[in-house]
Amino acid sequence: MKSYLPPEFIVERREDRCIRCLTCVRQCGFETHVYDAEENSLLSREELCVGCLRCVTLCPTRALTVRTNPSESRPNANWTREHLRDVCRQAESGGVILTGSGNDKPIRSYWDHLFLNASQVTNPSIDPLREPMELRTYLGRKPDALEPGEGRARESECPNVRIETPLLFSAMSFGAISLQAMQSLARAASEYGTLFNTGEGGLPAELVDYGKVAIVQCASGRFGVNWEYLNNSAIVEIKIGQGAKPGIGGHLPGEKVLAKVAETRMIPVGTDALSPAPQHDIYSIEDLSMLIYALKEATSYRKPISVKIAAVHNAAAIASGMVRAGADMIVIDGIRGGTGAAPKLIRDHVGIPIELALAAVDTRLREEGIRNWASLVAAGGFRSAADVIKAIALGADAVYLGTAALVAMGCTICQKCYTGICNWGICTNRPELAKRLNPDVAARRLVKLLRGWSLDIKEILGGMGVNAIESLRGNRLQLRGVGLEEWELRVLGVKGAGE
């Protein structure tokens, strides 16, 4: 069947700059560029281009430009280009449209409608370059009250994990991302004093030394879960849901289950790794509690147990149940959270924004007097330290960075993660592609990102006259809303600007 889909991108090659080094041909895993030796000419099969800019970035003479295809059919505000394209794709494939990365729709970003406070006259601001500024925080249940012991407060019986900055790396599993990518995250987390997350694919043998900075997941497929895995960790996380695909399980196709992935996941080589949509032993809060305590038993009550859910309509009530079920940390993943593969409609239309869910959960836990029972971590589309600091003011203890970390490593959010081909070596298992990500380089870039964002956070904190991140947590008086409806301000627990 002839495809009616026009190319999404066009490739422009400046002939006066092209030196025929063929880097573009070699670097495109989608085989967009073709060299004709007879004619000594280069052609671009633009219908294959995904706009990842690998060729543009590596072209040594800057001869290439990739642009969105400017061809337009008659403008139509209702039938957008994307809608037309998707109908066409489904008419040709008869299937569900898959995609990767996070929601790319112009959903209202509440971060952009929240503004931060600063000290003027009546209270002094602090210069973070001259005075100590504390970004260190602890994840885990906090005691209801401090009981004075001999000269100092008695140590909490609840295990807590120290992090030097409120930035954690999100769950991305081995199999979905390359070993090199996971190694980069682990090394950066270890170097900066924060944590990475194994996702649901187990901890590869190469990374066992990074267990102390790993949040290890126990998800519905139970891949790679065993006693050593659970105990070689900082935190154990039960994954119920993911912001990009609430209510949906996972499916790592058999082609991606190579020997090493199979070994780590503890499944046969070449078999599909299916994560069921629900955890089949959790159909209620009571069931969740049983798994939480099973994991606590398995880890001798030495590790905080985290529970991660997607931000959905009743997130606040569910979160309350999770905390009461024994979770020491809860993670809410908003609608902009990323994924390696999800049905496009689910990614774009299911779930709610993290800002509203986070505020609702924090408010609910405070009202019930159980906020100290669990740390609260927000996830899903944090683009800058400004988003992070607003999340902390809304009540988060820390945030998960997924897409931002990938971008730091080279990702250009082309959304082709589900194809198994990643020209940047991140979301692929093909050895010739995976080696494009040099962990030495990527870990260095990640550390610099953590450092840069941490410095940003310190600057903003200093401006507010606050010298510790823990003093800002849940301090919504530091936020004011602009351009928000009454109900939105109410849910966010924030006053309008000028109020």
Partner: protein
């Protein structure tokens, strides 16, 4: 002819370390090397349309996912120097660099036969061999500076 044992180096040696696990097979090192050894020292001028394409002194070898840049190891006991019949190949005892003088090279190819690493290339047009000279005058050799994935790194 020099013999093994006479070659003890006296100074610090800079070497290009090859990292197979990070080589992405883009071949850009070859182009940066060739341009550096072109009188113009410019990629566009060296390889622009209609120009005679110069050869580099580094070569990327590939088989499946395995790929790496082959570049002179500047061996402590350089077989190419032992094999050279005209004294064109010499080892600088202070820097440890194995240097080739094309003026004295007679194109006998003995060094190519002797080199265990296959890093000496035959420059057909000039009738002499060509090998890595660690880019005199540059802080960092062109291949190292141009590698997009740090698959070639300079060690001191």
């Amino acid at each position: 002819m020099k013999k093994a044992g006479e070659m003890k180096r006296t100074g610090a040696v800079r070497k290009i370390q090859i990292r197979e696990e990070a080589c992405i097979g883009c071949h850009l090192c070859e182009f940066y090397c060739a341009a550096e050894h072109h009188p113009s020292k410019d990629l566009l001028k060296a390889f622009g349309p209609g120009r005679e394409r110069p050869r580099g002194r580094v070569r990327v070898v590939e088989e499946g996912p395995v790929s790496f840049a082959l570049v002179c190891r500047h061996c402590d006991e350089p077989l190419c120097v032992f094999a050279c019949v005209s004294g064109a190949m010499e080892r600088d005892l202070e820097t440890g660099k194995v240097i080739h003088d094309p003026e004295r090279c007679v194109g006998c190819l003995s060094c190519i036969l002797a080199c265990a690493n296959g890093t000496i290339l035959w420059d057909e047009k000039r009738g002499v061999v060509a090998k890595c000279d660690l880019c005199p005058g540059r802080e960092v050799p062109a291949c190292v500076a141009g590698c997009p994935n740090e698959a070639l790194i300079l060690t001191e």
